[in-house]
């Protein structure tokens, strides 16, 4: 009599993933723009150092993945305003499964963003790594994007559709720039470099960069990222509970 929970959740993730990927704005901002920026930054002004091409690849893939993860939250805020979340509440899916499915959708929609930058690195910029390193980098980017999914969900459940969109874009740009995803932190003044070392984005990219060079990521990087994951997770949980009363 009971519907298999896994297949329902899988169907829900499938539905939400399709909805996200059909949004031209999503595709342009999470695949088109990062790929274009990556290719420009690494091929203009004599920036032909292979090491920089690899580091920038990881940074830009992190940027694209973060954008995809955050925009999921913008989608939640929209679904709140159109009544889709409320409609889901009168299906046999529990609200908890809906929010879980939404978070898992985040782990799917970051994949095209990550894959497209890694492909651009490998095929256009000639980045070379051992296959195991490619796999480790891809995995790190995939897992490391999850805290940003939580941040996006927190914004999406807490804020109105319009505000959530603006706040997510601001988070995306601010964290990308300060975290050093666009420009290397070595160009930053001292105070900004210090600030940068506390950002989740900087540690996210550091994770991938270390793995791309075959090094183990530092314990500090993992600790900072884990702390942010806990903060964003709590934020998402609180926002979700608060909105559950009004959705």
């Amino acid at each position: 009599m009971s519907t298999p929970i896994l297949s329902t959740t899988a169907a829900y993730i499938g539905l939400e993933t399709r909805r996200a990927l059909r949004d031209p704005g999503f595709v342009i901002s999470t695949i088109g723009v990062p790929v274009m920026m990556y290719l420009l930054f690494t091929n203009l002004g004599g920036q032909n150092d292979p090491a920089y091409k690899a580091v920038a690849m990881v940074g830009m893939a992190a940027y694209g993945a973060m954008g995809a993860a955050l925009s999921l939250g913008t989608g939640v805020a929209e679904d709140k305003s159109t009544g889709w979340l409320r409609q889901l509440r009168i299906t046999p899916m529990t609200p908890r499964r809906v929010v879980t499915g939404r978070a898992l959708t985040g782990t799917v929609v970051v994949l095209p963003a990550i894959a497209s930058i890694l492909l651009a690195g490998a095929l256009v910029n000639g980045v070379r790594m051992a296959p195991a390193h490619w796999a480790a980098v891809a995995l790190a980017l995939w897992l490391g994007s999850f805290p940003f999914t939580l941040l996006g969900l927190g914004n999406g459940y807490r804020l109105s559709a319009q505000t959530a969109g603006v706040v997510n874009v601001a988070c995306n740009l601010g964290l990308a720039v300060v975290g050093g995803l666009w420009f290397p932190v070595s160009l930053f003044p001292g105070w900004l470099a210090t600030l940068s070392s506390w950002t989740p984005t900087h540690r996210f990219a550091e994770l991938g960069a270390a793995l791309s060079e075959g090094r183990a990521p530092s314990a500090t990087a993992l600790a900072v990222l884990a702390a942010w994951a806990a903060v964003f997770g709590a934020y998402a949980a609180i926002s979700y509970r608060r909105s559950a009363r009004t959705v």
Partner: protein, 305 residues
């Protein structure tokens, strides 16, 4: 089990600030009936429906749905609902949406049946956010019935529809009700309650002010409407005629609501005031207005008693 009521409200109250949206609701919805919750905007229809579906909790009182709590009935997949404020879900096709919702239920209708019942077969591969208002409304109906629920709840299902789309919608709804399902819908269209429902519950200011079939409501309100042309004659005496409870003058035509149409007509005939005389049973509209009089007083109506 099949004799247990579909839904029961017991002394349910709900306030939003100083507004009493539900003021002691007692209502039993029987299995297999099509029930209309009729009331003007703000009468408490949506509040009653939200609480019935477990989207909102009563301040006091109790609601049971198919023998359990609203949450239990919803999670068991026994309820399908169409909410009022729903806008189209973006970037999905009709078939994807209805198919997904069907999958969340334990024993859904085949998707093609749900689409056919809602008249959507030809639109199955169109995107929901690119449909007309009437088509989108039918999608929401398909979503409500996709799980083959025992009870379907529709909050103002036709509010955005033109006359033709409304007729199509009710045809689809009848198809579903004929399968033995219980249907509860809210509306502020009298004629819709009159034609589509077996039973009408009139809500006003959070209270049930009438409950019965359309015929019962008219009978309970009593009386008839006698109308005739004044032909310039004075109208002051009309309220003193036998049986008359209400006088309404529109232009040159007098419209008398009466408890005793024979007596009223005889009295009018004695005064030879029978030009264009018409005696009609009370329309549901009159019943509704008198039931919800507190807030219904229109400038043309002057209550007599």
């Amino acid at each position: 089990m099949t004799n247990e009521p579909a839904a029961v409200f017991e002394a349910v109250t709900k306030s939003y600030g100083s507004v009493r949206a539900a003021d002691g609701l007692d209502l039993t919805v029987r299995r297999g009936e099509t029930l209309a919750l009729l009331g003007r905007n703000g009468a408490g229809k949506s509040t009653a429906i939200s609480m019935l579906l477990g989207l909102d909790t009563p301040d006091s009182g109790r609601i049971s749905l198919l023998g359990g709590t609203p949450e239990q009935a919803v999670l068991a997949g026994r309820i399908g609902a169409m909410l009022q404020e729903g806008r189209a879900v973006s970037r999905v096709t009709v078939r994807e949406l209805v198919g997904f919702v069907a999958r969340t239920y334990p024993a859904p209708l085949p998707v093609s049946d749900a689409l056919a019942l809602a008249g959507l077969t030809a639109l199955a591969d169109r995107r929901v956010d690119r449909l007309s208002g009437g088509q989108a409304q039918r999608v929401r109906f398909a979503v409500a019935l996709a799980g083959d629920p025992e009870l379907i709840v529709l909050d103002e299902p036709t509010s955005a529809l033109d006359v033709e789309a409304r007729a199509e919608f009710w045809e689809a709804m009848h198809g579903y009700a004929r399968r033995g399902n219980t249907v509860l819908f809210s509306t502020h269209y009298l004629e819709e309650a009159d034609t589509a429902a077996d039973r009408i519950v009139v809500l006003d200011a959070g209270r049930i002010v009438a409950d019965g079939t359309s015929e019962e409501l008219k009978r309970a309100a009593g009386g008839a409407v006698v109308s005739f042309d004044l032909a310039g004659a004075p109208s002051a005496y009309l309220s003193d005629l036998p049986g008359v409870t209400e006088v309404e003058i529109r232009g040159d035509r007098a419209r008398l609501r009466t408890d005793d149409s024979d007596g009223t007509v005889r009295a009018l005939a004695a005064r030879d005031a029978i030009r264009g005389l018409e005696v009609a049973p009370l329309a549901l509209n009159d019943v509704f207005l008198s039931l919800t009089r507190g807030r219904a007083a229109t400038p043309e109506t002057e209550p007599v008693r």
